[in-house]
């Protein structure tokens, strides 16, 4: 392979995968947040129904 500009080619490849990986990480963080919120709401509903609070 012609090695001219190989470093910038590597940066280009890296940039594409870094952007997509960053998006996947943000999706995973959002997933965790949603799960936590569902758990919190489930506990809240159970608590309210057990105490019979209005």
């Amino acid at each position: 392979m012609d090695a001219r500009n190989f470093t910038y080619m590597f940066y280009g490849f890296l940039a594409v995968w870094l952007v997509l990986c960053a998006y996947v990480v943000s999706l995973a963080a959002r997933e965790r947040k949603i799960r936590r919120e569902i758990e919190r709401l489930k506990m809240m509903v159970e608590e309210k129904s057990s105490t019979g609070a209005p």
Binding site: R4, A15, Y23, L27, L41, K42
Partner: protein, 225 residues
């Protein structure tokens, strides 16, 4: 079932990418003028095509939402737009790195680059607008209209290199563009894993939208108790 499908699609995408990377780096012929950097095209172009396809799917889903008033179409439009933005960002940044070597500059206000950046910003605005509207049906209706109008920019991006004199190269896969057959095939071969990855990301995002609707329903239920 859906999780297994997503894992299978992601696995196939990973295998195809590994195989394509081997071919791109070690088997494809060199480009006479550019050296190794021309190989960015195999990520730069499929990323753009995937982004355009996501925006097109979002526009169709937005029209369907306006016709059927089904929030699942709105969720799909939001998911596809977000994934399209990720691929659009990959396209813009890889293009800037390529430009730095070939043109000697990171950026120029050329019609292709500018229309792509404007499109990216419009779709980013679409997502910001969604966050700003509380009521789900109101949000879905306004977002659908924005998505349909935002898509007007996509053909402008696509045809800008034919309509105006641009610093960006002329088409290489349509309008009489020429490319070595091995390079031409690899462009499409590398688009397949991008499409698979995009589909998996949209499916994950759709699951999150569904979970968010459940959260909203639970919140209403909890407050009504």
């Amino acid at each position: 079932m859906r999780t297994k499908l997503m894992i299978a699609m992601a696995g196939i995408a990973a295998l195809l990418l590994a195989r394509n990377l081997y071919v791109i780096l070690l088997e494809l012929p060199d480009e006479a003028a550019q050296g190794a950097i021309y190989r960015i095209i195999f990520f730069h172009v499929p990323a753009a095509w995937t982004a355009f396809l996501c925006f097109f799917a979002a526009m169709i889903a937005s029209i369907l939402y306006l016709v059927k008033k089904d929030l699942r179409h709105d969720a799909f439009a939001a998911s596809a737009t977000e994934v399209g933005l990720a691929f659009g960002a990959a396209n813009l940044i890889s293009g800037m790195i390529w430009a730095r070597i070939i043109w000697g500059i990171w950026w120029t206000w050329d019609p292709r680059l500018t229309s792509m950046l404007v499109g990216w910003l419009i779709y980013a605005g679409y997502l910001m607008l969604r966050r700003a509207i509380e009521d789900p049906t109101e949000r879905a209706k306004i977002a659908a209209v924005v998505s349909i109008f935002a898509f007007v920019d996509v053909p402008i991006i696509f045809f800008s290199i034919k309509w105006w004199r641009t610093q960006h190269p002329q088409p290489v896969v349509w309008a009489g563009g020429q490319m070595d057959p091995a390079m031409y095939n690899m462009l499409f071969m590398n688009w397949i894993p991008f499409l698979l990855l995009g589909a998996v990301l949209v499916m994950i995002r759709m699951n999150q939208e569904r979970a968010q609707r459940e959260i909203d329903a639970m919140r209403r239920y909890a407050h009504a108790m």
